[in-house]
């Protein structure tokens, strides 16, 4: 088998499984369906690992699979670019996907849509792999939209729930707003380079960097800035950056495996990956990098604050994801692309772990997600508990867990950044560390420690609540705990093992481009002396102690003095209302955009179409014709002498006119 065939196999294996199970799943039965899908993803995972090994040996690839279309001298192709960045991404994507596939067997065991679910997640894996393997903007956009589609299908998986089908429409439309910018960015690229191919575009980038475009009034914009901001708006949609973040918390309406796969480890990282992939373009526009930095910082800080007040266990993790994506975006803005990708990778492990662990707790709680009705699960679910603790330590940035390395690098890189807005970003990512530790351990204490609040009788009196109250929670089956353990090992291991190579080494080679003026990461590289000195240095830094302070604070407020948070909340009720309502962004969007669009539509339809065009012009002219003919009818009397009289009058009139003329 040639390498090219292996490349093809990576996306096609899950696609084949998705099609077969999607079409004939119910007939094949559950076991066959999940075996097929898992086999497909397993093939991808093994092939990806093989490709990663091959790439590390220095074998890159850039070639087309087929020509999709040609038009106006532009060639649209489907093709693969296999380099270190791609190889790393496909390995992470297919591996996390494999874990989620296995976990799903346990989590969705009772669901009537079991085979449909497997078909969707395999289709998702295919889409994401196409996205990261693309060597051109067409395929990138295909994968981009395809993950959006599957996310839409999966958030609305339980299509009978009004909240789920509200959330999936919202997610799709918020993503479409991002894609709108993305398409315009691609449009500018084609307009100025005449190509969709990465290599050609990157080659032409320095040439068009000096070109300007007249967008508003007489202001001249650098074309590169316009392109990069357009592309980044797309990334803001997919990677849920403020203000397009609104869809991600609601996407928790989907089943938990999806939250882990799509809304933590893969789809939301598409934007981060894309910007890193486009580093040869972004590097040429400081304005765009500054925009990226500010958006990322805002997301990192403000979403972390929201994580502290959530009561739904999955929503805590969702806001945490938003905040962490903000960190990655900040790193991109600081030209520390490799640090962003490294955090993407470590985050994929511990965030998938946290979601799947939360899912495990949710199963034990008979699909209750409110942490106020959990508590004390530690002794019933030791594996879930300890893996969750590992995940939380990693997220909080405590050494030697993975998150420590990736986050510390980002914070330092932001400090060394020089683009406008980096001071704000520095503040945001530093304060964010405290908040991250706070909400992570709030979750741990509320869920696994303290009183067994789930025994407090039926909250809404359904059968599940009854069961919760009377039965002891049980640890989940092995298909659930195995992925937890594997991911926990990943969360422990990926940090110190890979930070040297990926961030400070030459792992990415020329797949990521950084110009000399943006030398933050290069400076850090010179001070890099290995993992242990890095950790020791970290122990003396502010971020580490902020993280520890966050954990202690969480312990104090939610374990030692659990009555305090409520009191603080009522004392600061104004602030609390603002936070619990997500800064009223959703209300604003519902009123201004959703409502506003409908109002514009109604006016256009009722007034524009019905009254003005149809009422006045169309039916108006019909009525005018009718009225005129009603008048004229009086002349058509049918009496000869009337007509004769009219003829004589006319002849006289004509004669008069002629003679006078």
């Amino acid at each position: 088998m040639t390498m090219q065939q292996i490349y093809l196999l990576i996306p096609l294996a899950p696609l084949a499984a998705a099609i077969i199970v999607g079409l004939w799943g119910p007939r094949l039965g559950r076991a066959t369906s999940h075996r097929l899908c898992i086999a497909g993803v397993m093939v991808s995972t093994l092939a990806s690992a093989w490709v990663l090994r091959d790439v590390l040996a220095g074998h890159d690839f850039n070639g087309d699979v087929y020509t999709w279309m040609t038009s106006g001298g532009v060639k649209f192709t489907i093709g693969f670019l296999i380099d270190p960045l791609t190889a790393l991404m496909i390995t992470v994507v297919s591996f996390v996907s494999l874990m989620v596939h296995i976990y799903t067997i346990g989590y969705m065991a009772d669901d009537p849509g079991y085979t449909r679910f497997f078909s969707y997640i395999s289709l998702f894996t295919f889409s994401m792999l196409m996205l990261v393997m693309a060597n051109n903007f067409l395929q990138l956009f295909f994968g981009w939209e395809a993950v959006g589609l599957v996310s839409y299908l999966l958030i609305g998986f339980w299509y009978e729930r009004p909240t789920a089908i509200y959330a999936n429409l919202k997610a799709f439309l918020a993503n479409r707003v991002g894609d709108f910018g993305f398409v315009l960015g691609i449009g500018l690229i084609v307009a100025y380079t005449g190509s969709l191919d990465y290599a050609t575009v990157f080659g032409a980038a320095p040439v068009i960097a000096g070109t300007t475009i007249n967008l508003l009034g007489d202001a001249q914009w650098s074309v590169m800035t316009a392109i990069c901001i357009g592309l980044f708006v797309g990334a803001m949609g997919k990677s849920a950056q403020v203000p397009l973040h609104v869809w991600l918390p609601d996407s928790m309406e989907g089943p938990t495996p999806i939250s882990a796969l799509i809304h933590a480890a893969t789809m939301v990282t598409a934007g981060i990956f894309m910007v890193a992939r486009m580093s040869p373009l972004f590097e040429l526009s400081d304005t765009a990098l500054s925009f990226v930095t500010v958006i990322g910082a805002t997301t990192a800080l403000f979403m972390a604050v929201l994580g502290v007040v959530q009561n739904d266990i999955k929503r805590v993790i969702a806001y945490s994801t938003l905040s962490q994506l903000g960190y990655m975006t900040c790193a991109l803005g600081a030209s520390a692309y490799s640090a962003a990708i490294f955090h993407l990778m470590t985050h994929a492990f511990f965030k998938a772990l946290l979601f799947l662990g939360a899912g495990s707790a949710i199963i034990a709680m008979h699909h209750e997600q409110d942490m106020r009705r959990m508590g004390g699960l530690k002794k019933y679910m030791p594996i879930t508990y300890w893996t969750m603790v590992i995940g939380s330590l990693a997220l909080a940035g405590i050494p030697p867990f993975a998150g420590f390395f990736s986050k510390d690098v980002i914070i330092e890189a932001v400090q060394l950044s020089t683009v406008p807005g980096h001071t704000y970003a520095q503040f945001a990512v530093t304060v964010g560390v405290f908040l991250t530790a706070l909400y992570s351990f709030r979750l741990i204490f509320l869920t696994f420690h303290g009183e067994e609040r789930f025994r407090h009788g039926p909250a809404h009196g359904d059968a599940h609540a009854q069961e919760r109250a009377h039965e002891d929670p049980r640890e989940s089956p092995w298909v659930v705990t195995l992925p937890l353990i594997v991911l926990a090992v990943g969360s422990l291991y990926t940090g110190w093992a890979y930070v040297g190579d990926t961030v400070f080494g030459d792992f990415f080679r020329d797949s990521i481009v950084v110009i000399e003026q943006h030398a933050g990461l290069a400076e850090m590289r010179e001070e890099w002396h290995g993992v242990v000195p890095f950790m020791v240095h970290g122990l003396t830094g502010a971020p580490f102690w902020l993280g520890v302070a966050g954990i202690v604070a969480a312990w104090f407020f939610w374990s030692r003095r659990p009555e305090l948070p409520d009191r603080i909340a009522s004392a600061l009720s104004g602030l609390y209302t603002l936070l619990i309502n997500n800064y009223f962004v959703d209300r604003f969007n519902d009123f201004f955009f959703a409502g506003g669009f409908r109002r514009v539509g109604t006016v256009a339809s009722e007034v524009g179409d019905r009254v003005i065009i149809d009422g006045f012009f169309v039916n108006g002219s019909a009525r005018a014709v009718g009225a005129t003919s009603a008048l004229l009818r009086h002349i058509q009397t049918g009496r000869i002498y009337h007509y004769a009289f009219a003829m004589i009058l006319s002849v006289l009139a004509l004669l008069t006119w002629w003679s006078v003329r």
């Binding site: 087929y66 020509t67 999709w68 279309m69 040609t70 038009s71 106006g72 001298g73 532009v74 067409l138 956009f141 295909f142 939209e145 395809a146 589609l149 839409y152 299908l153 609305g156 299509y159 009978e160 009004p162 089908i165 509200y166 429409l169 799709f172 439309l173 479409r176 707003v177 894609d179 709108f180 398409v183 315009l184 691609i186 449009g187 500018l188 084609v190 307009a191 475009i213 967008l215 316009a226 669009f597 409908r598 514009v600 539509g601 109604t602 256009a604 339809s605 524009g608 179409d609 065009i613 149809d614 012009f617 169309v618 019909a622």
Partner: protein
Amino acid sequence: MVGPLKATTVLPYLSLAIWVPVAAGILVLALHRDRDAAAARWLALVGALAGFAVTLPLYAHFLIGTAEMQFVEAVEWIPRFNVNYLLGVDGISLPLILLNSFITVLVVWAGWVVIQSRVAQYMAAFLIMSGLTNGVFAALDGVLFYVFFEAMLVPLYLIIGIWGGPNRVYAAIKFFLYTLLGSLLMLVALIYLYSISGGSFSILEWYQLPLSLKTQILLFVAFFAAFSVKVPMWPVHTWLPDAHTEAPTGGSVVLAAITLKVGGYGFIRFVLPILPDASHYLSGFMIALSLIAIVYIGFVALVQPDMKRLIAYSSISHMGFVTLGLFLFSAMGVEGGLVQMISHGFVSAALFLCVGVLYDRMHSRQIADYGGVVNTMPKFAAFAMLFAMANSGLPGTSGFVGEFMVVLASVKANFWLGFLAATIMILGAAYTLWMYKRVWYGQVGNAHVAALKDLSQREFWLLGALVLAVLALGVYPKPFTDVMHASVADLLAHVAQSKL
């Protein structure tokens, strides 16, 4: 003397494409046995299939890489006025003929069960309509074009007026008057061109005719009146939602998939090459109207309570991409407009068939009467989802291809054009998926929805055929665009050459 074109084929495939369906239609009418409706149906289906079959050699034997008219047939018709039976296709008309003949098969099959009264007339109307439409796309003589152009109104008028809904008479008359008024002005323009060209009705000869800017503008207005109504462009679009809501399912399918394309085709065949200077002069006007159609109509579609009206408005918005693409005068824009026409043919046909599937069962087109259809019709919901996504322009479906090309071409022309055109990504998804949410998703809305039966075999394959078409064009559009390149390049050469 018939002009510079000489017959180039052994078998008159184009004549067959026109007259096989017409003859089949007349045969169905002639046998006219309403007591034996089954025979009429089968005969009609055979006729439609035969009509489709005779168009396949057109594609198989089509020479890619030349802009010359192919399969030319030239026979004298009315020598006194130099009117000829002149047929030919290029890379622009060929896909439309194939589309038309393909859709005709689906439409005949779609009316299999629902139409129980005057089956023979119903089937005949569609077959005759199909042949006449092929005539429009193949005619290279002005008079011949006009005759087909007007004649195809009649079957459609009857389809709406006889098998339509309660308000069908208003809709049919509105449709007829709207389109007739436009085409009368076109007749004047054709006769004028005849007189100043020294007595030629050959459309291709008119391409070479020198015309002053003033003349060109007047002629532009006349052709615009005919074709803008057909497309339809804002603000002469209001006949379409009414015609769609009252038409039977098959009528809506043909109207959206085929009839609207005649308008776009007219701009390509007549306006751009014959009136290049006026086209440039008025391109800002055309682009503005197209953008209004895309944005304004997108908003209007959002609030429609009736599914057919919603899809009708969506059609207008999507057809805005066709006229926008044409008047950008770039290869990608024009080809994008053409691809959009083909894709819209598939997608709008599919969406109207989907509404038909629901209407046949519940006799309502109101979105509010549904909810949770996916619970009782899962297969159907899967099909509908795919078509909804195609309508939202998702890559991998045909809906994406044309939109993407036109957006790229418009950004190249002017960033803000692209900006406004790209709003369809948001608006299109908003109105389509919001409808999907309210009709298909959710809990079972009422007892009627609870009693729904999933697709029959016939409906399944009907929609299945369109799924294949939508995906084929979306995944591999190259065969479609390859056919167009040479003709589009030739067209653009004509547009670029001033006649002043």
